[in-house]
């Protein structure tokens, strides 16, 4: 039997089931997104004040405003929370029951991630709309539909990249008892290097070569830069190329670690 169409069908059913579950607590998503959007708003106000009072930043008000308004939607769309859950499923042996099913446990996490994205999108879009309206004077409008398409593609790639990095870290639970410290460390590093706290354009010039090419830039900052920044077509293409490259590298790595982990897996409670 062809596996790809079958897996897609399973994925569709499981996503629908997850969405139905998420609908039980609808209000939660609004609060989650209000929390998600509050830190970018704080940063936005701070940097605008700095700019208005004479700080000589390498980027202008348009860039800053567009960056922080779009930041929460991109961090939301590319985030994943699977590391903790997957690691505990491996450690506590919940994986065993999935190994006899005709679909991978990972597919369940994809479905969970997709459903969570749908719920969050409904909660977040109105908030972003209000923000956009409030700051519309200094928002950058993407130059032409091609930028919008690139923005969407880049968000999708960034989402896949984050997801594979998370699988990679969670899979280490096959050999390690506790990956939570590693997970925390990854979150902290990613927060700085992905541009979720401060736009990467504001990083000092001596760090440029490293900052611009490391993988975390392609998990958040790059998609935002497509709309906010003034990337040339050449920079856009190399950026997307880099992003694809990182997706491939981390995809292959995660695949290798996961499959060798499955072979090393000695089930608990089975």
């Amino acid at each position: 039997m062809r596996t790809v169409p079958r897996n897609l069908r399973v994925l569709r059913r499981m996503t629908a089931a997850h969405i139905a579950m998420s609908l039980t607590y609808r209000g939660v998503w609004l609060i989650f997104m209000a929390a998600n959007i509050s830190v970018p708003i704080i940063s936005l106000l701070i940097w605008r004040t700095a700019l208005a009072h004479g700080a000589q930043l390498p980027i202008d008000e348009q860039y800053i405003t567009t960056y922080f308004v779009l930041l929460s939607i991109v961090t939301m769309a590319t985030s994943s929370w699977l590391t903790t859950f997957l690691a505990s499923d491996i450690r506590l042996g919940k994986l065993s029951s999935w190994m006899v099913r005709p679909a991978s446990l990972l597919l369940n996490f994809v479905a969970n991630n997709l459903s969570e994205k749908v719920m969050k999108l409904f909660a977040l879009v109105p908030m972003i709309g209000v923000l956009w309206w409030a700051f519309h004077d200094s928002m950058n409008v993407p130059a032409g539909p091609s930028r919008v398409v690139l923005f969407v593609i880049s968000i999708l790639l960034a989402g896949i990249l984050v997801f594979t990095i998370d699988i990679l870290i969670a899979s280490l639970a096959f050999w390690m008892d506790d990956v939570s410290a590693l997970h925390q460390a990854r979150l902290v590093i990613a927060n700085v290097l992905s541009g979720s706290i401060v736009p990467l354009a504001l990083m000092p010039s001596w760090s440029r070569g490293f900052i611009d090419n490391q993988p975390f830039r392609y998990t958040v900052s790059f998609p935002v830069e497509i709309v906010a920044g003034d990337l040339s077509s050449a920079e856009l293409l190399t950026g997307i190329g880099f992003q694809l490259g990182y997706v491939l590298v981390f995809g292959v790595l995660a695949r290798l670690v996961w499959s060798s982990g499955i072979r090393a897996y000695s089930a608990v409670g089975a």
């Binding site: 609060i31 989650f32 929390a35 509050s38």
Partner: protein, 284 residues
Amino acid sequence: MTTRTQTYAEPRRPLDRTWFHRQERHLRLWRRFLSQAIVRETHYRAHFVTTLIVGLVRLGLALVPILLLYGYTDDVRGWSQAEVITLVGLFQVVTGVLATFVAPNLMRMTTYITEGELDGVLVRPVSSQFYLTLRWINVAELSNVASGLLMVIFGLVRSGISPNALEILQAVMLVACGTVLLATVWCAMSFTAFWLQSVNPIAFLYNNLLESGRYPLVFFPAGVRAFLTFAFPVAFASTFPAQALRGDLGWLQVAEGVGLTVVAIVLVRAQWRYGLRSYASASS
């Protein structure tokens, strides 16, 4: 000669003779909570080290925007980098105290209400609000208070400010008000569990809003400033004490802080009583 057996239905001597005895009994109880928490902490030394490291990393992360910002300018609306470092240190002290004494309790609010654990508290001879807000103490978080104090001293030395005793007193009073104010706001948000059941996402929202306390109030537009002073009062926990240390704050603002704190405590007490009436036990 028969001794008469007493039953619970008969009038007995009340537990506390006066209001002061009642407060004193609760204080004694809290001291027991604290010594128990310290004993527990000695059993989990790795937890102490992890809390310390996580706290330091968080602090470093909070400094990233400030260090970058002051790479491009020396002064933002009358605040130098060293003064902002003092402010971040003061705020670290406040959040450290909250994480030690209040957070471990409010994080349990959802289970208290959805699993009916509150039942067990209500039958005890103790103020239920006191017990739910202050029962658990996370001693390891005090390390963040220490790192905050070090940062305050570092910032003061760097900016060459030497506050006199009165200015220090003002700052201490404002930090105390700020801590209580933020605690009451968090309580008010958590006590909505009586009506909403699950309040875990509310803790997440609260913690994210708390990030605004790491910047001087004047960095925000006027409307937001009012919000951060009266509705979500981080100003009392960072900006005002930092201004007091610089010596440009009058006693009027200290009095304002004390007044606001009293009002907040009265309000959250009323909210608790009102919420308790709508509590319909989950276990019986």
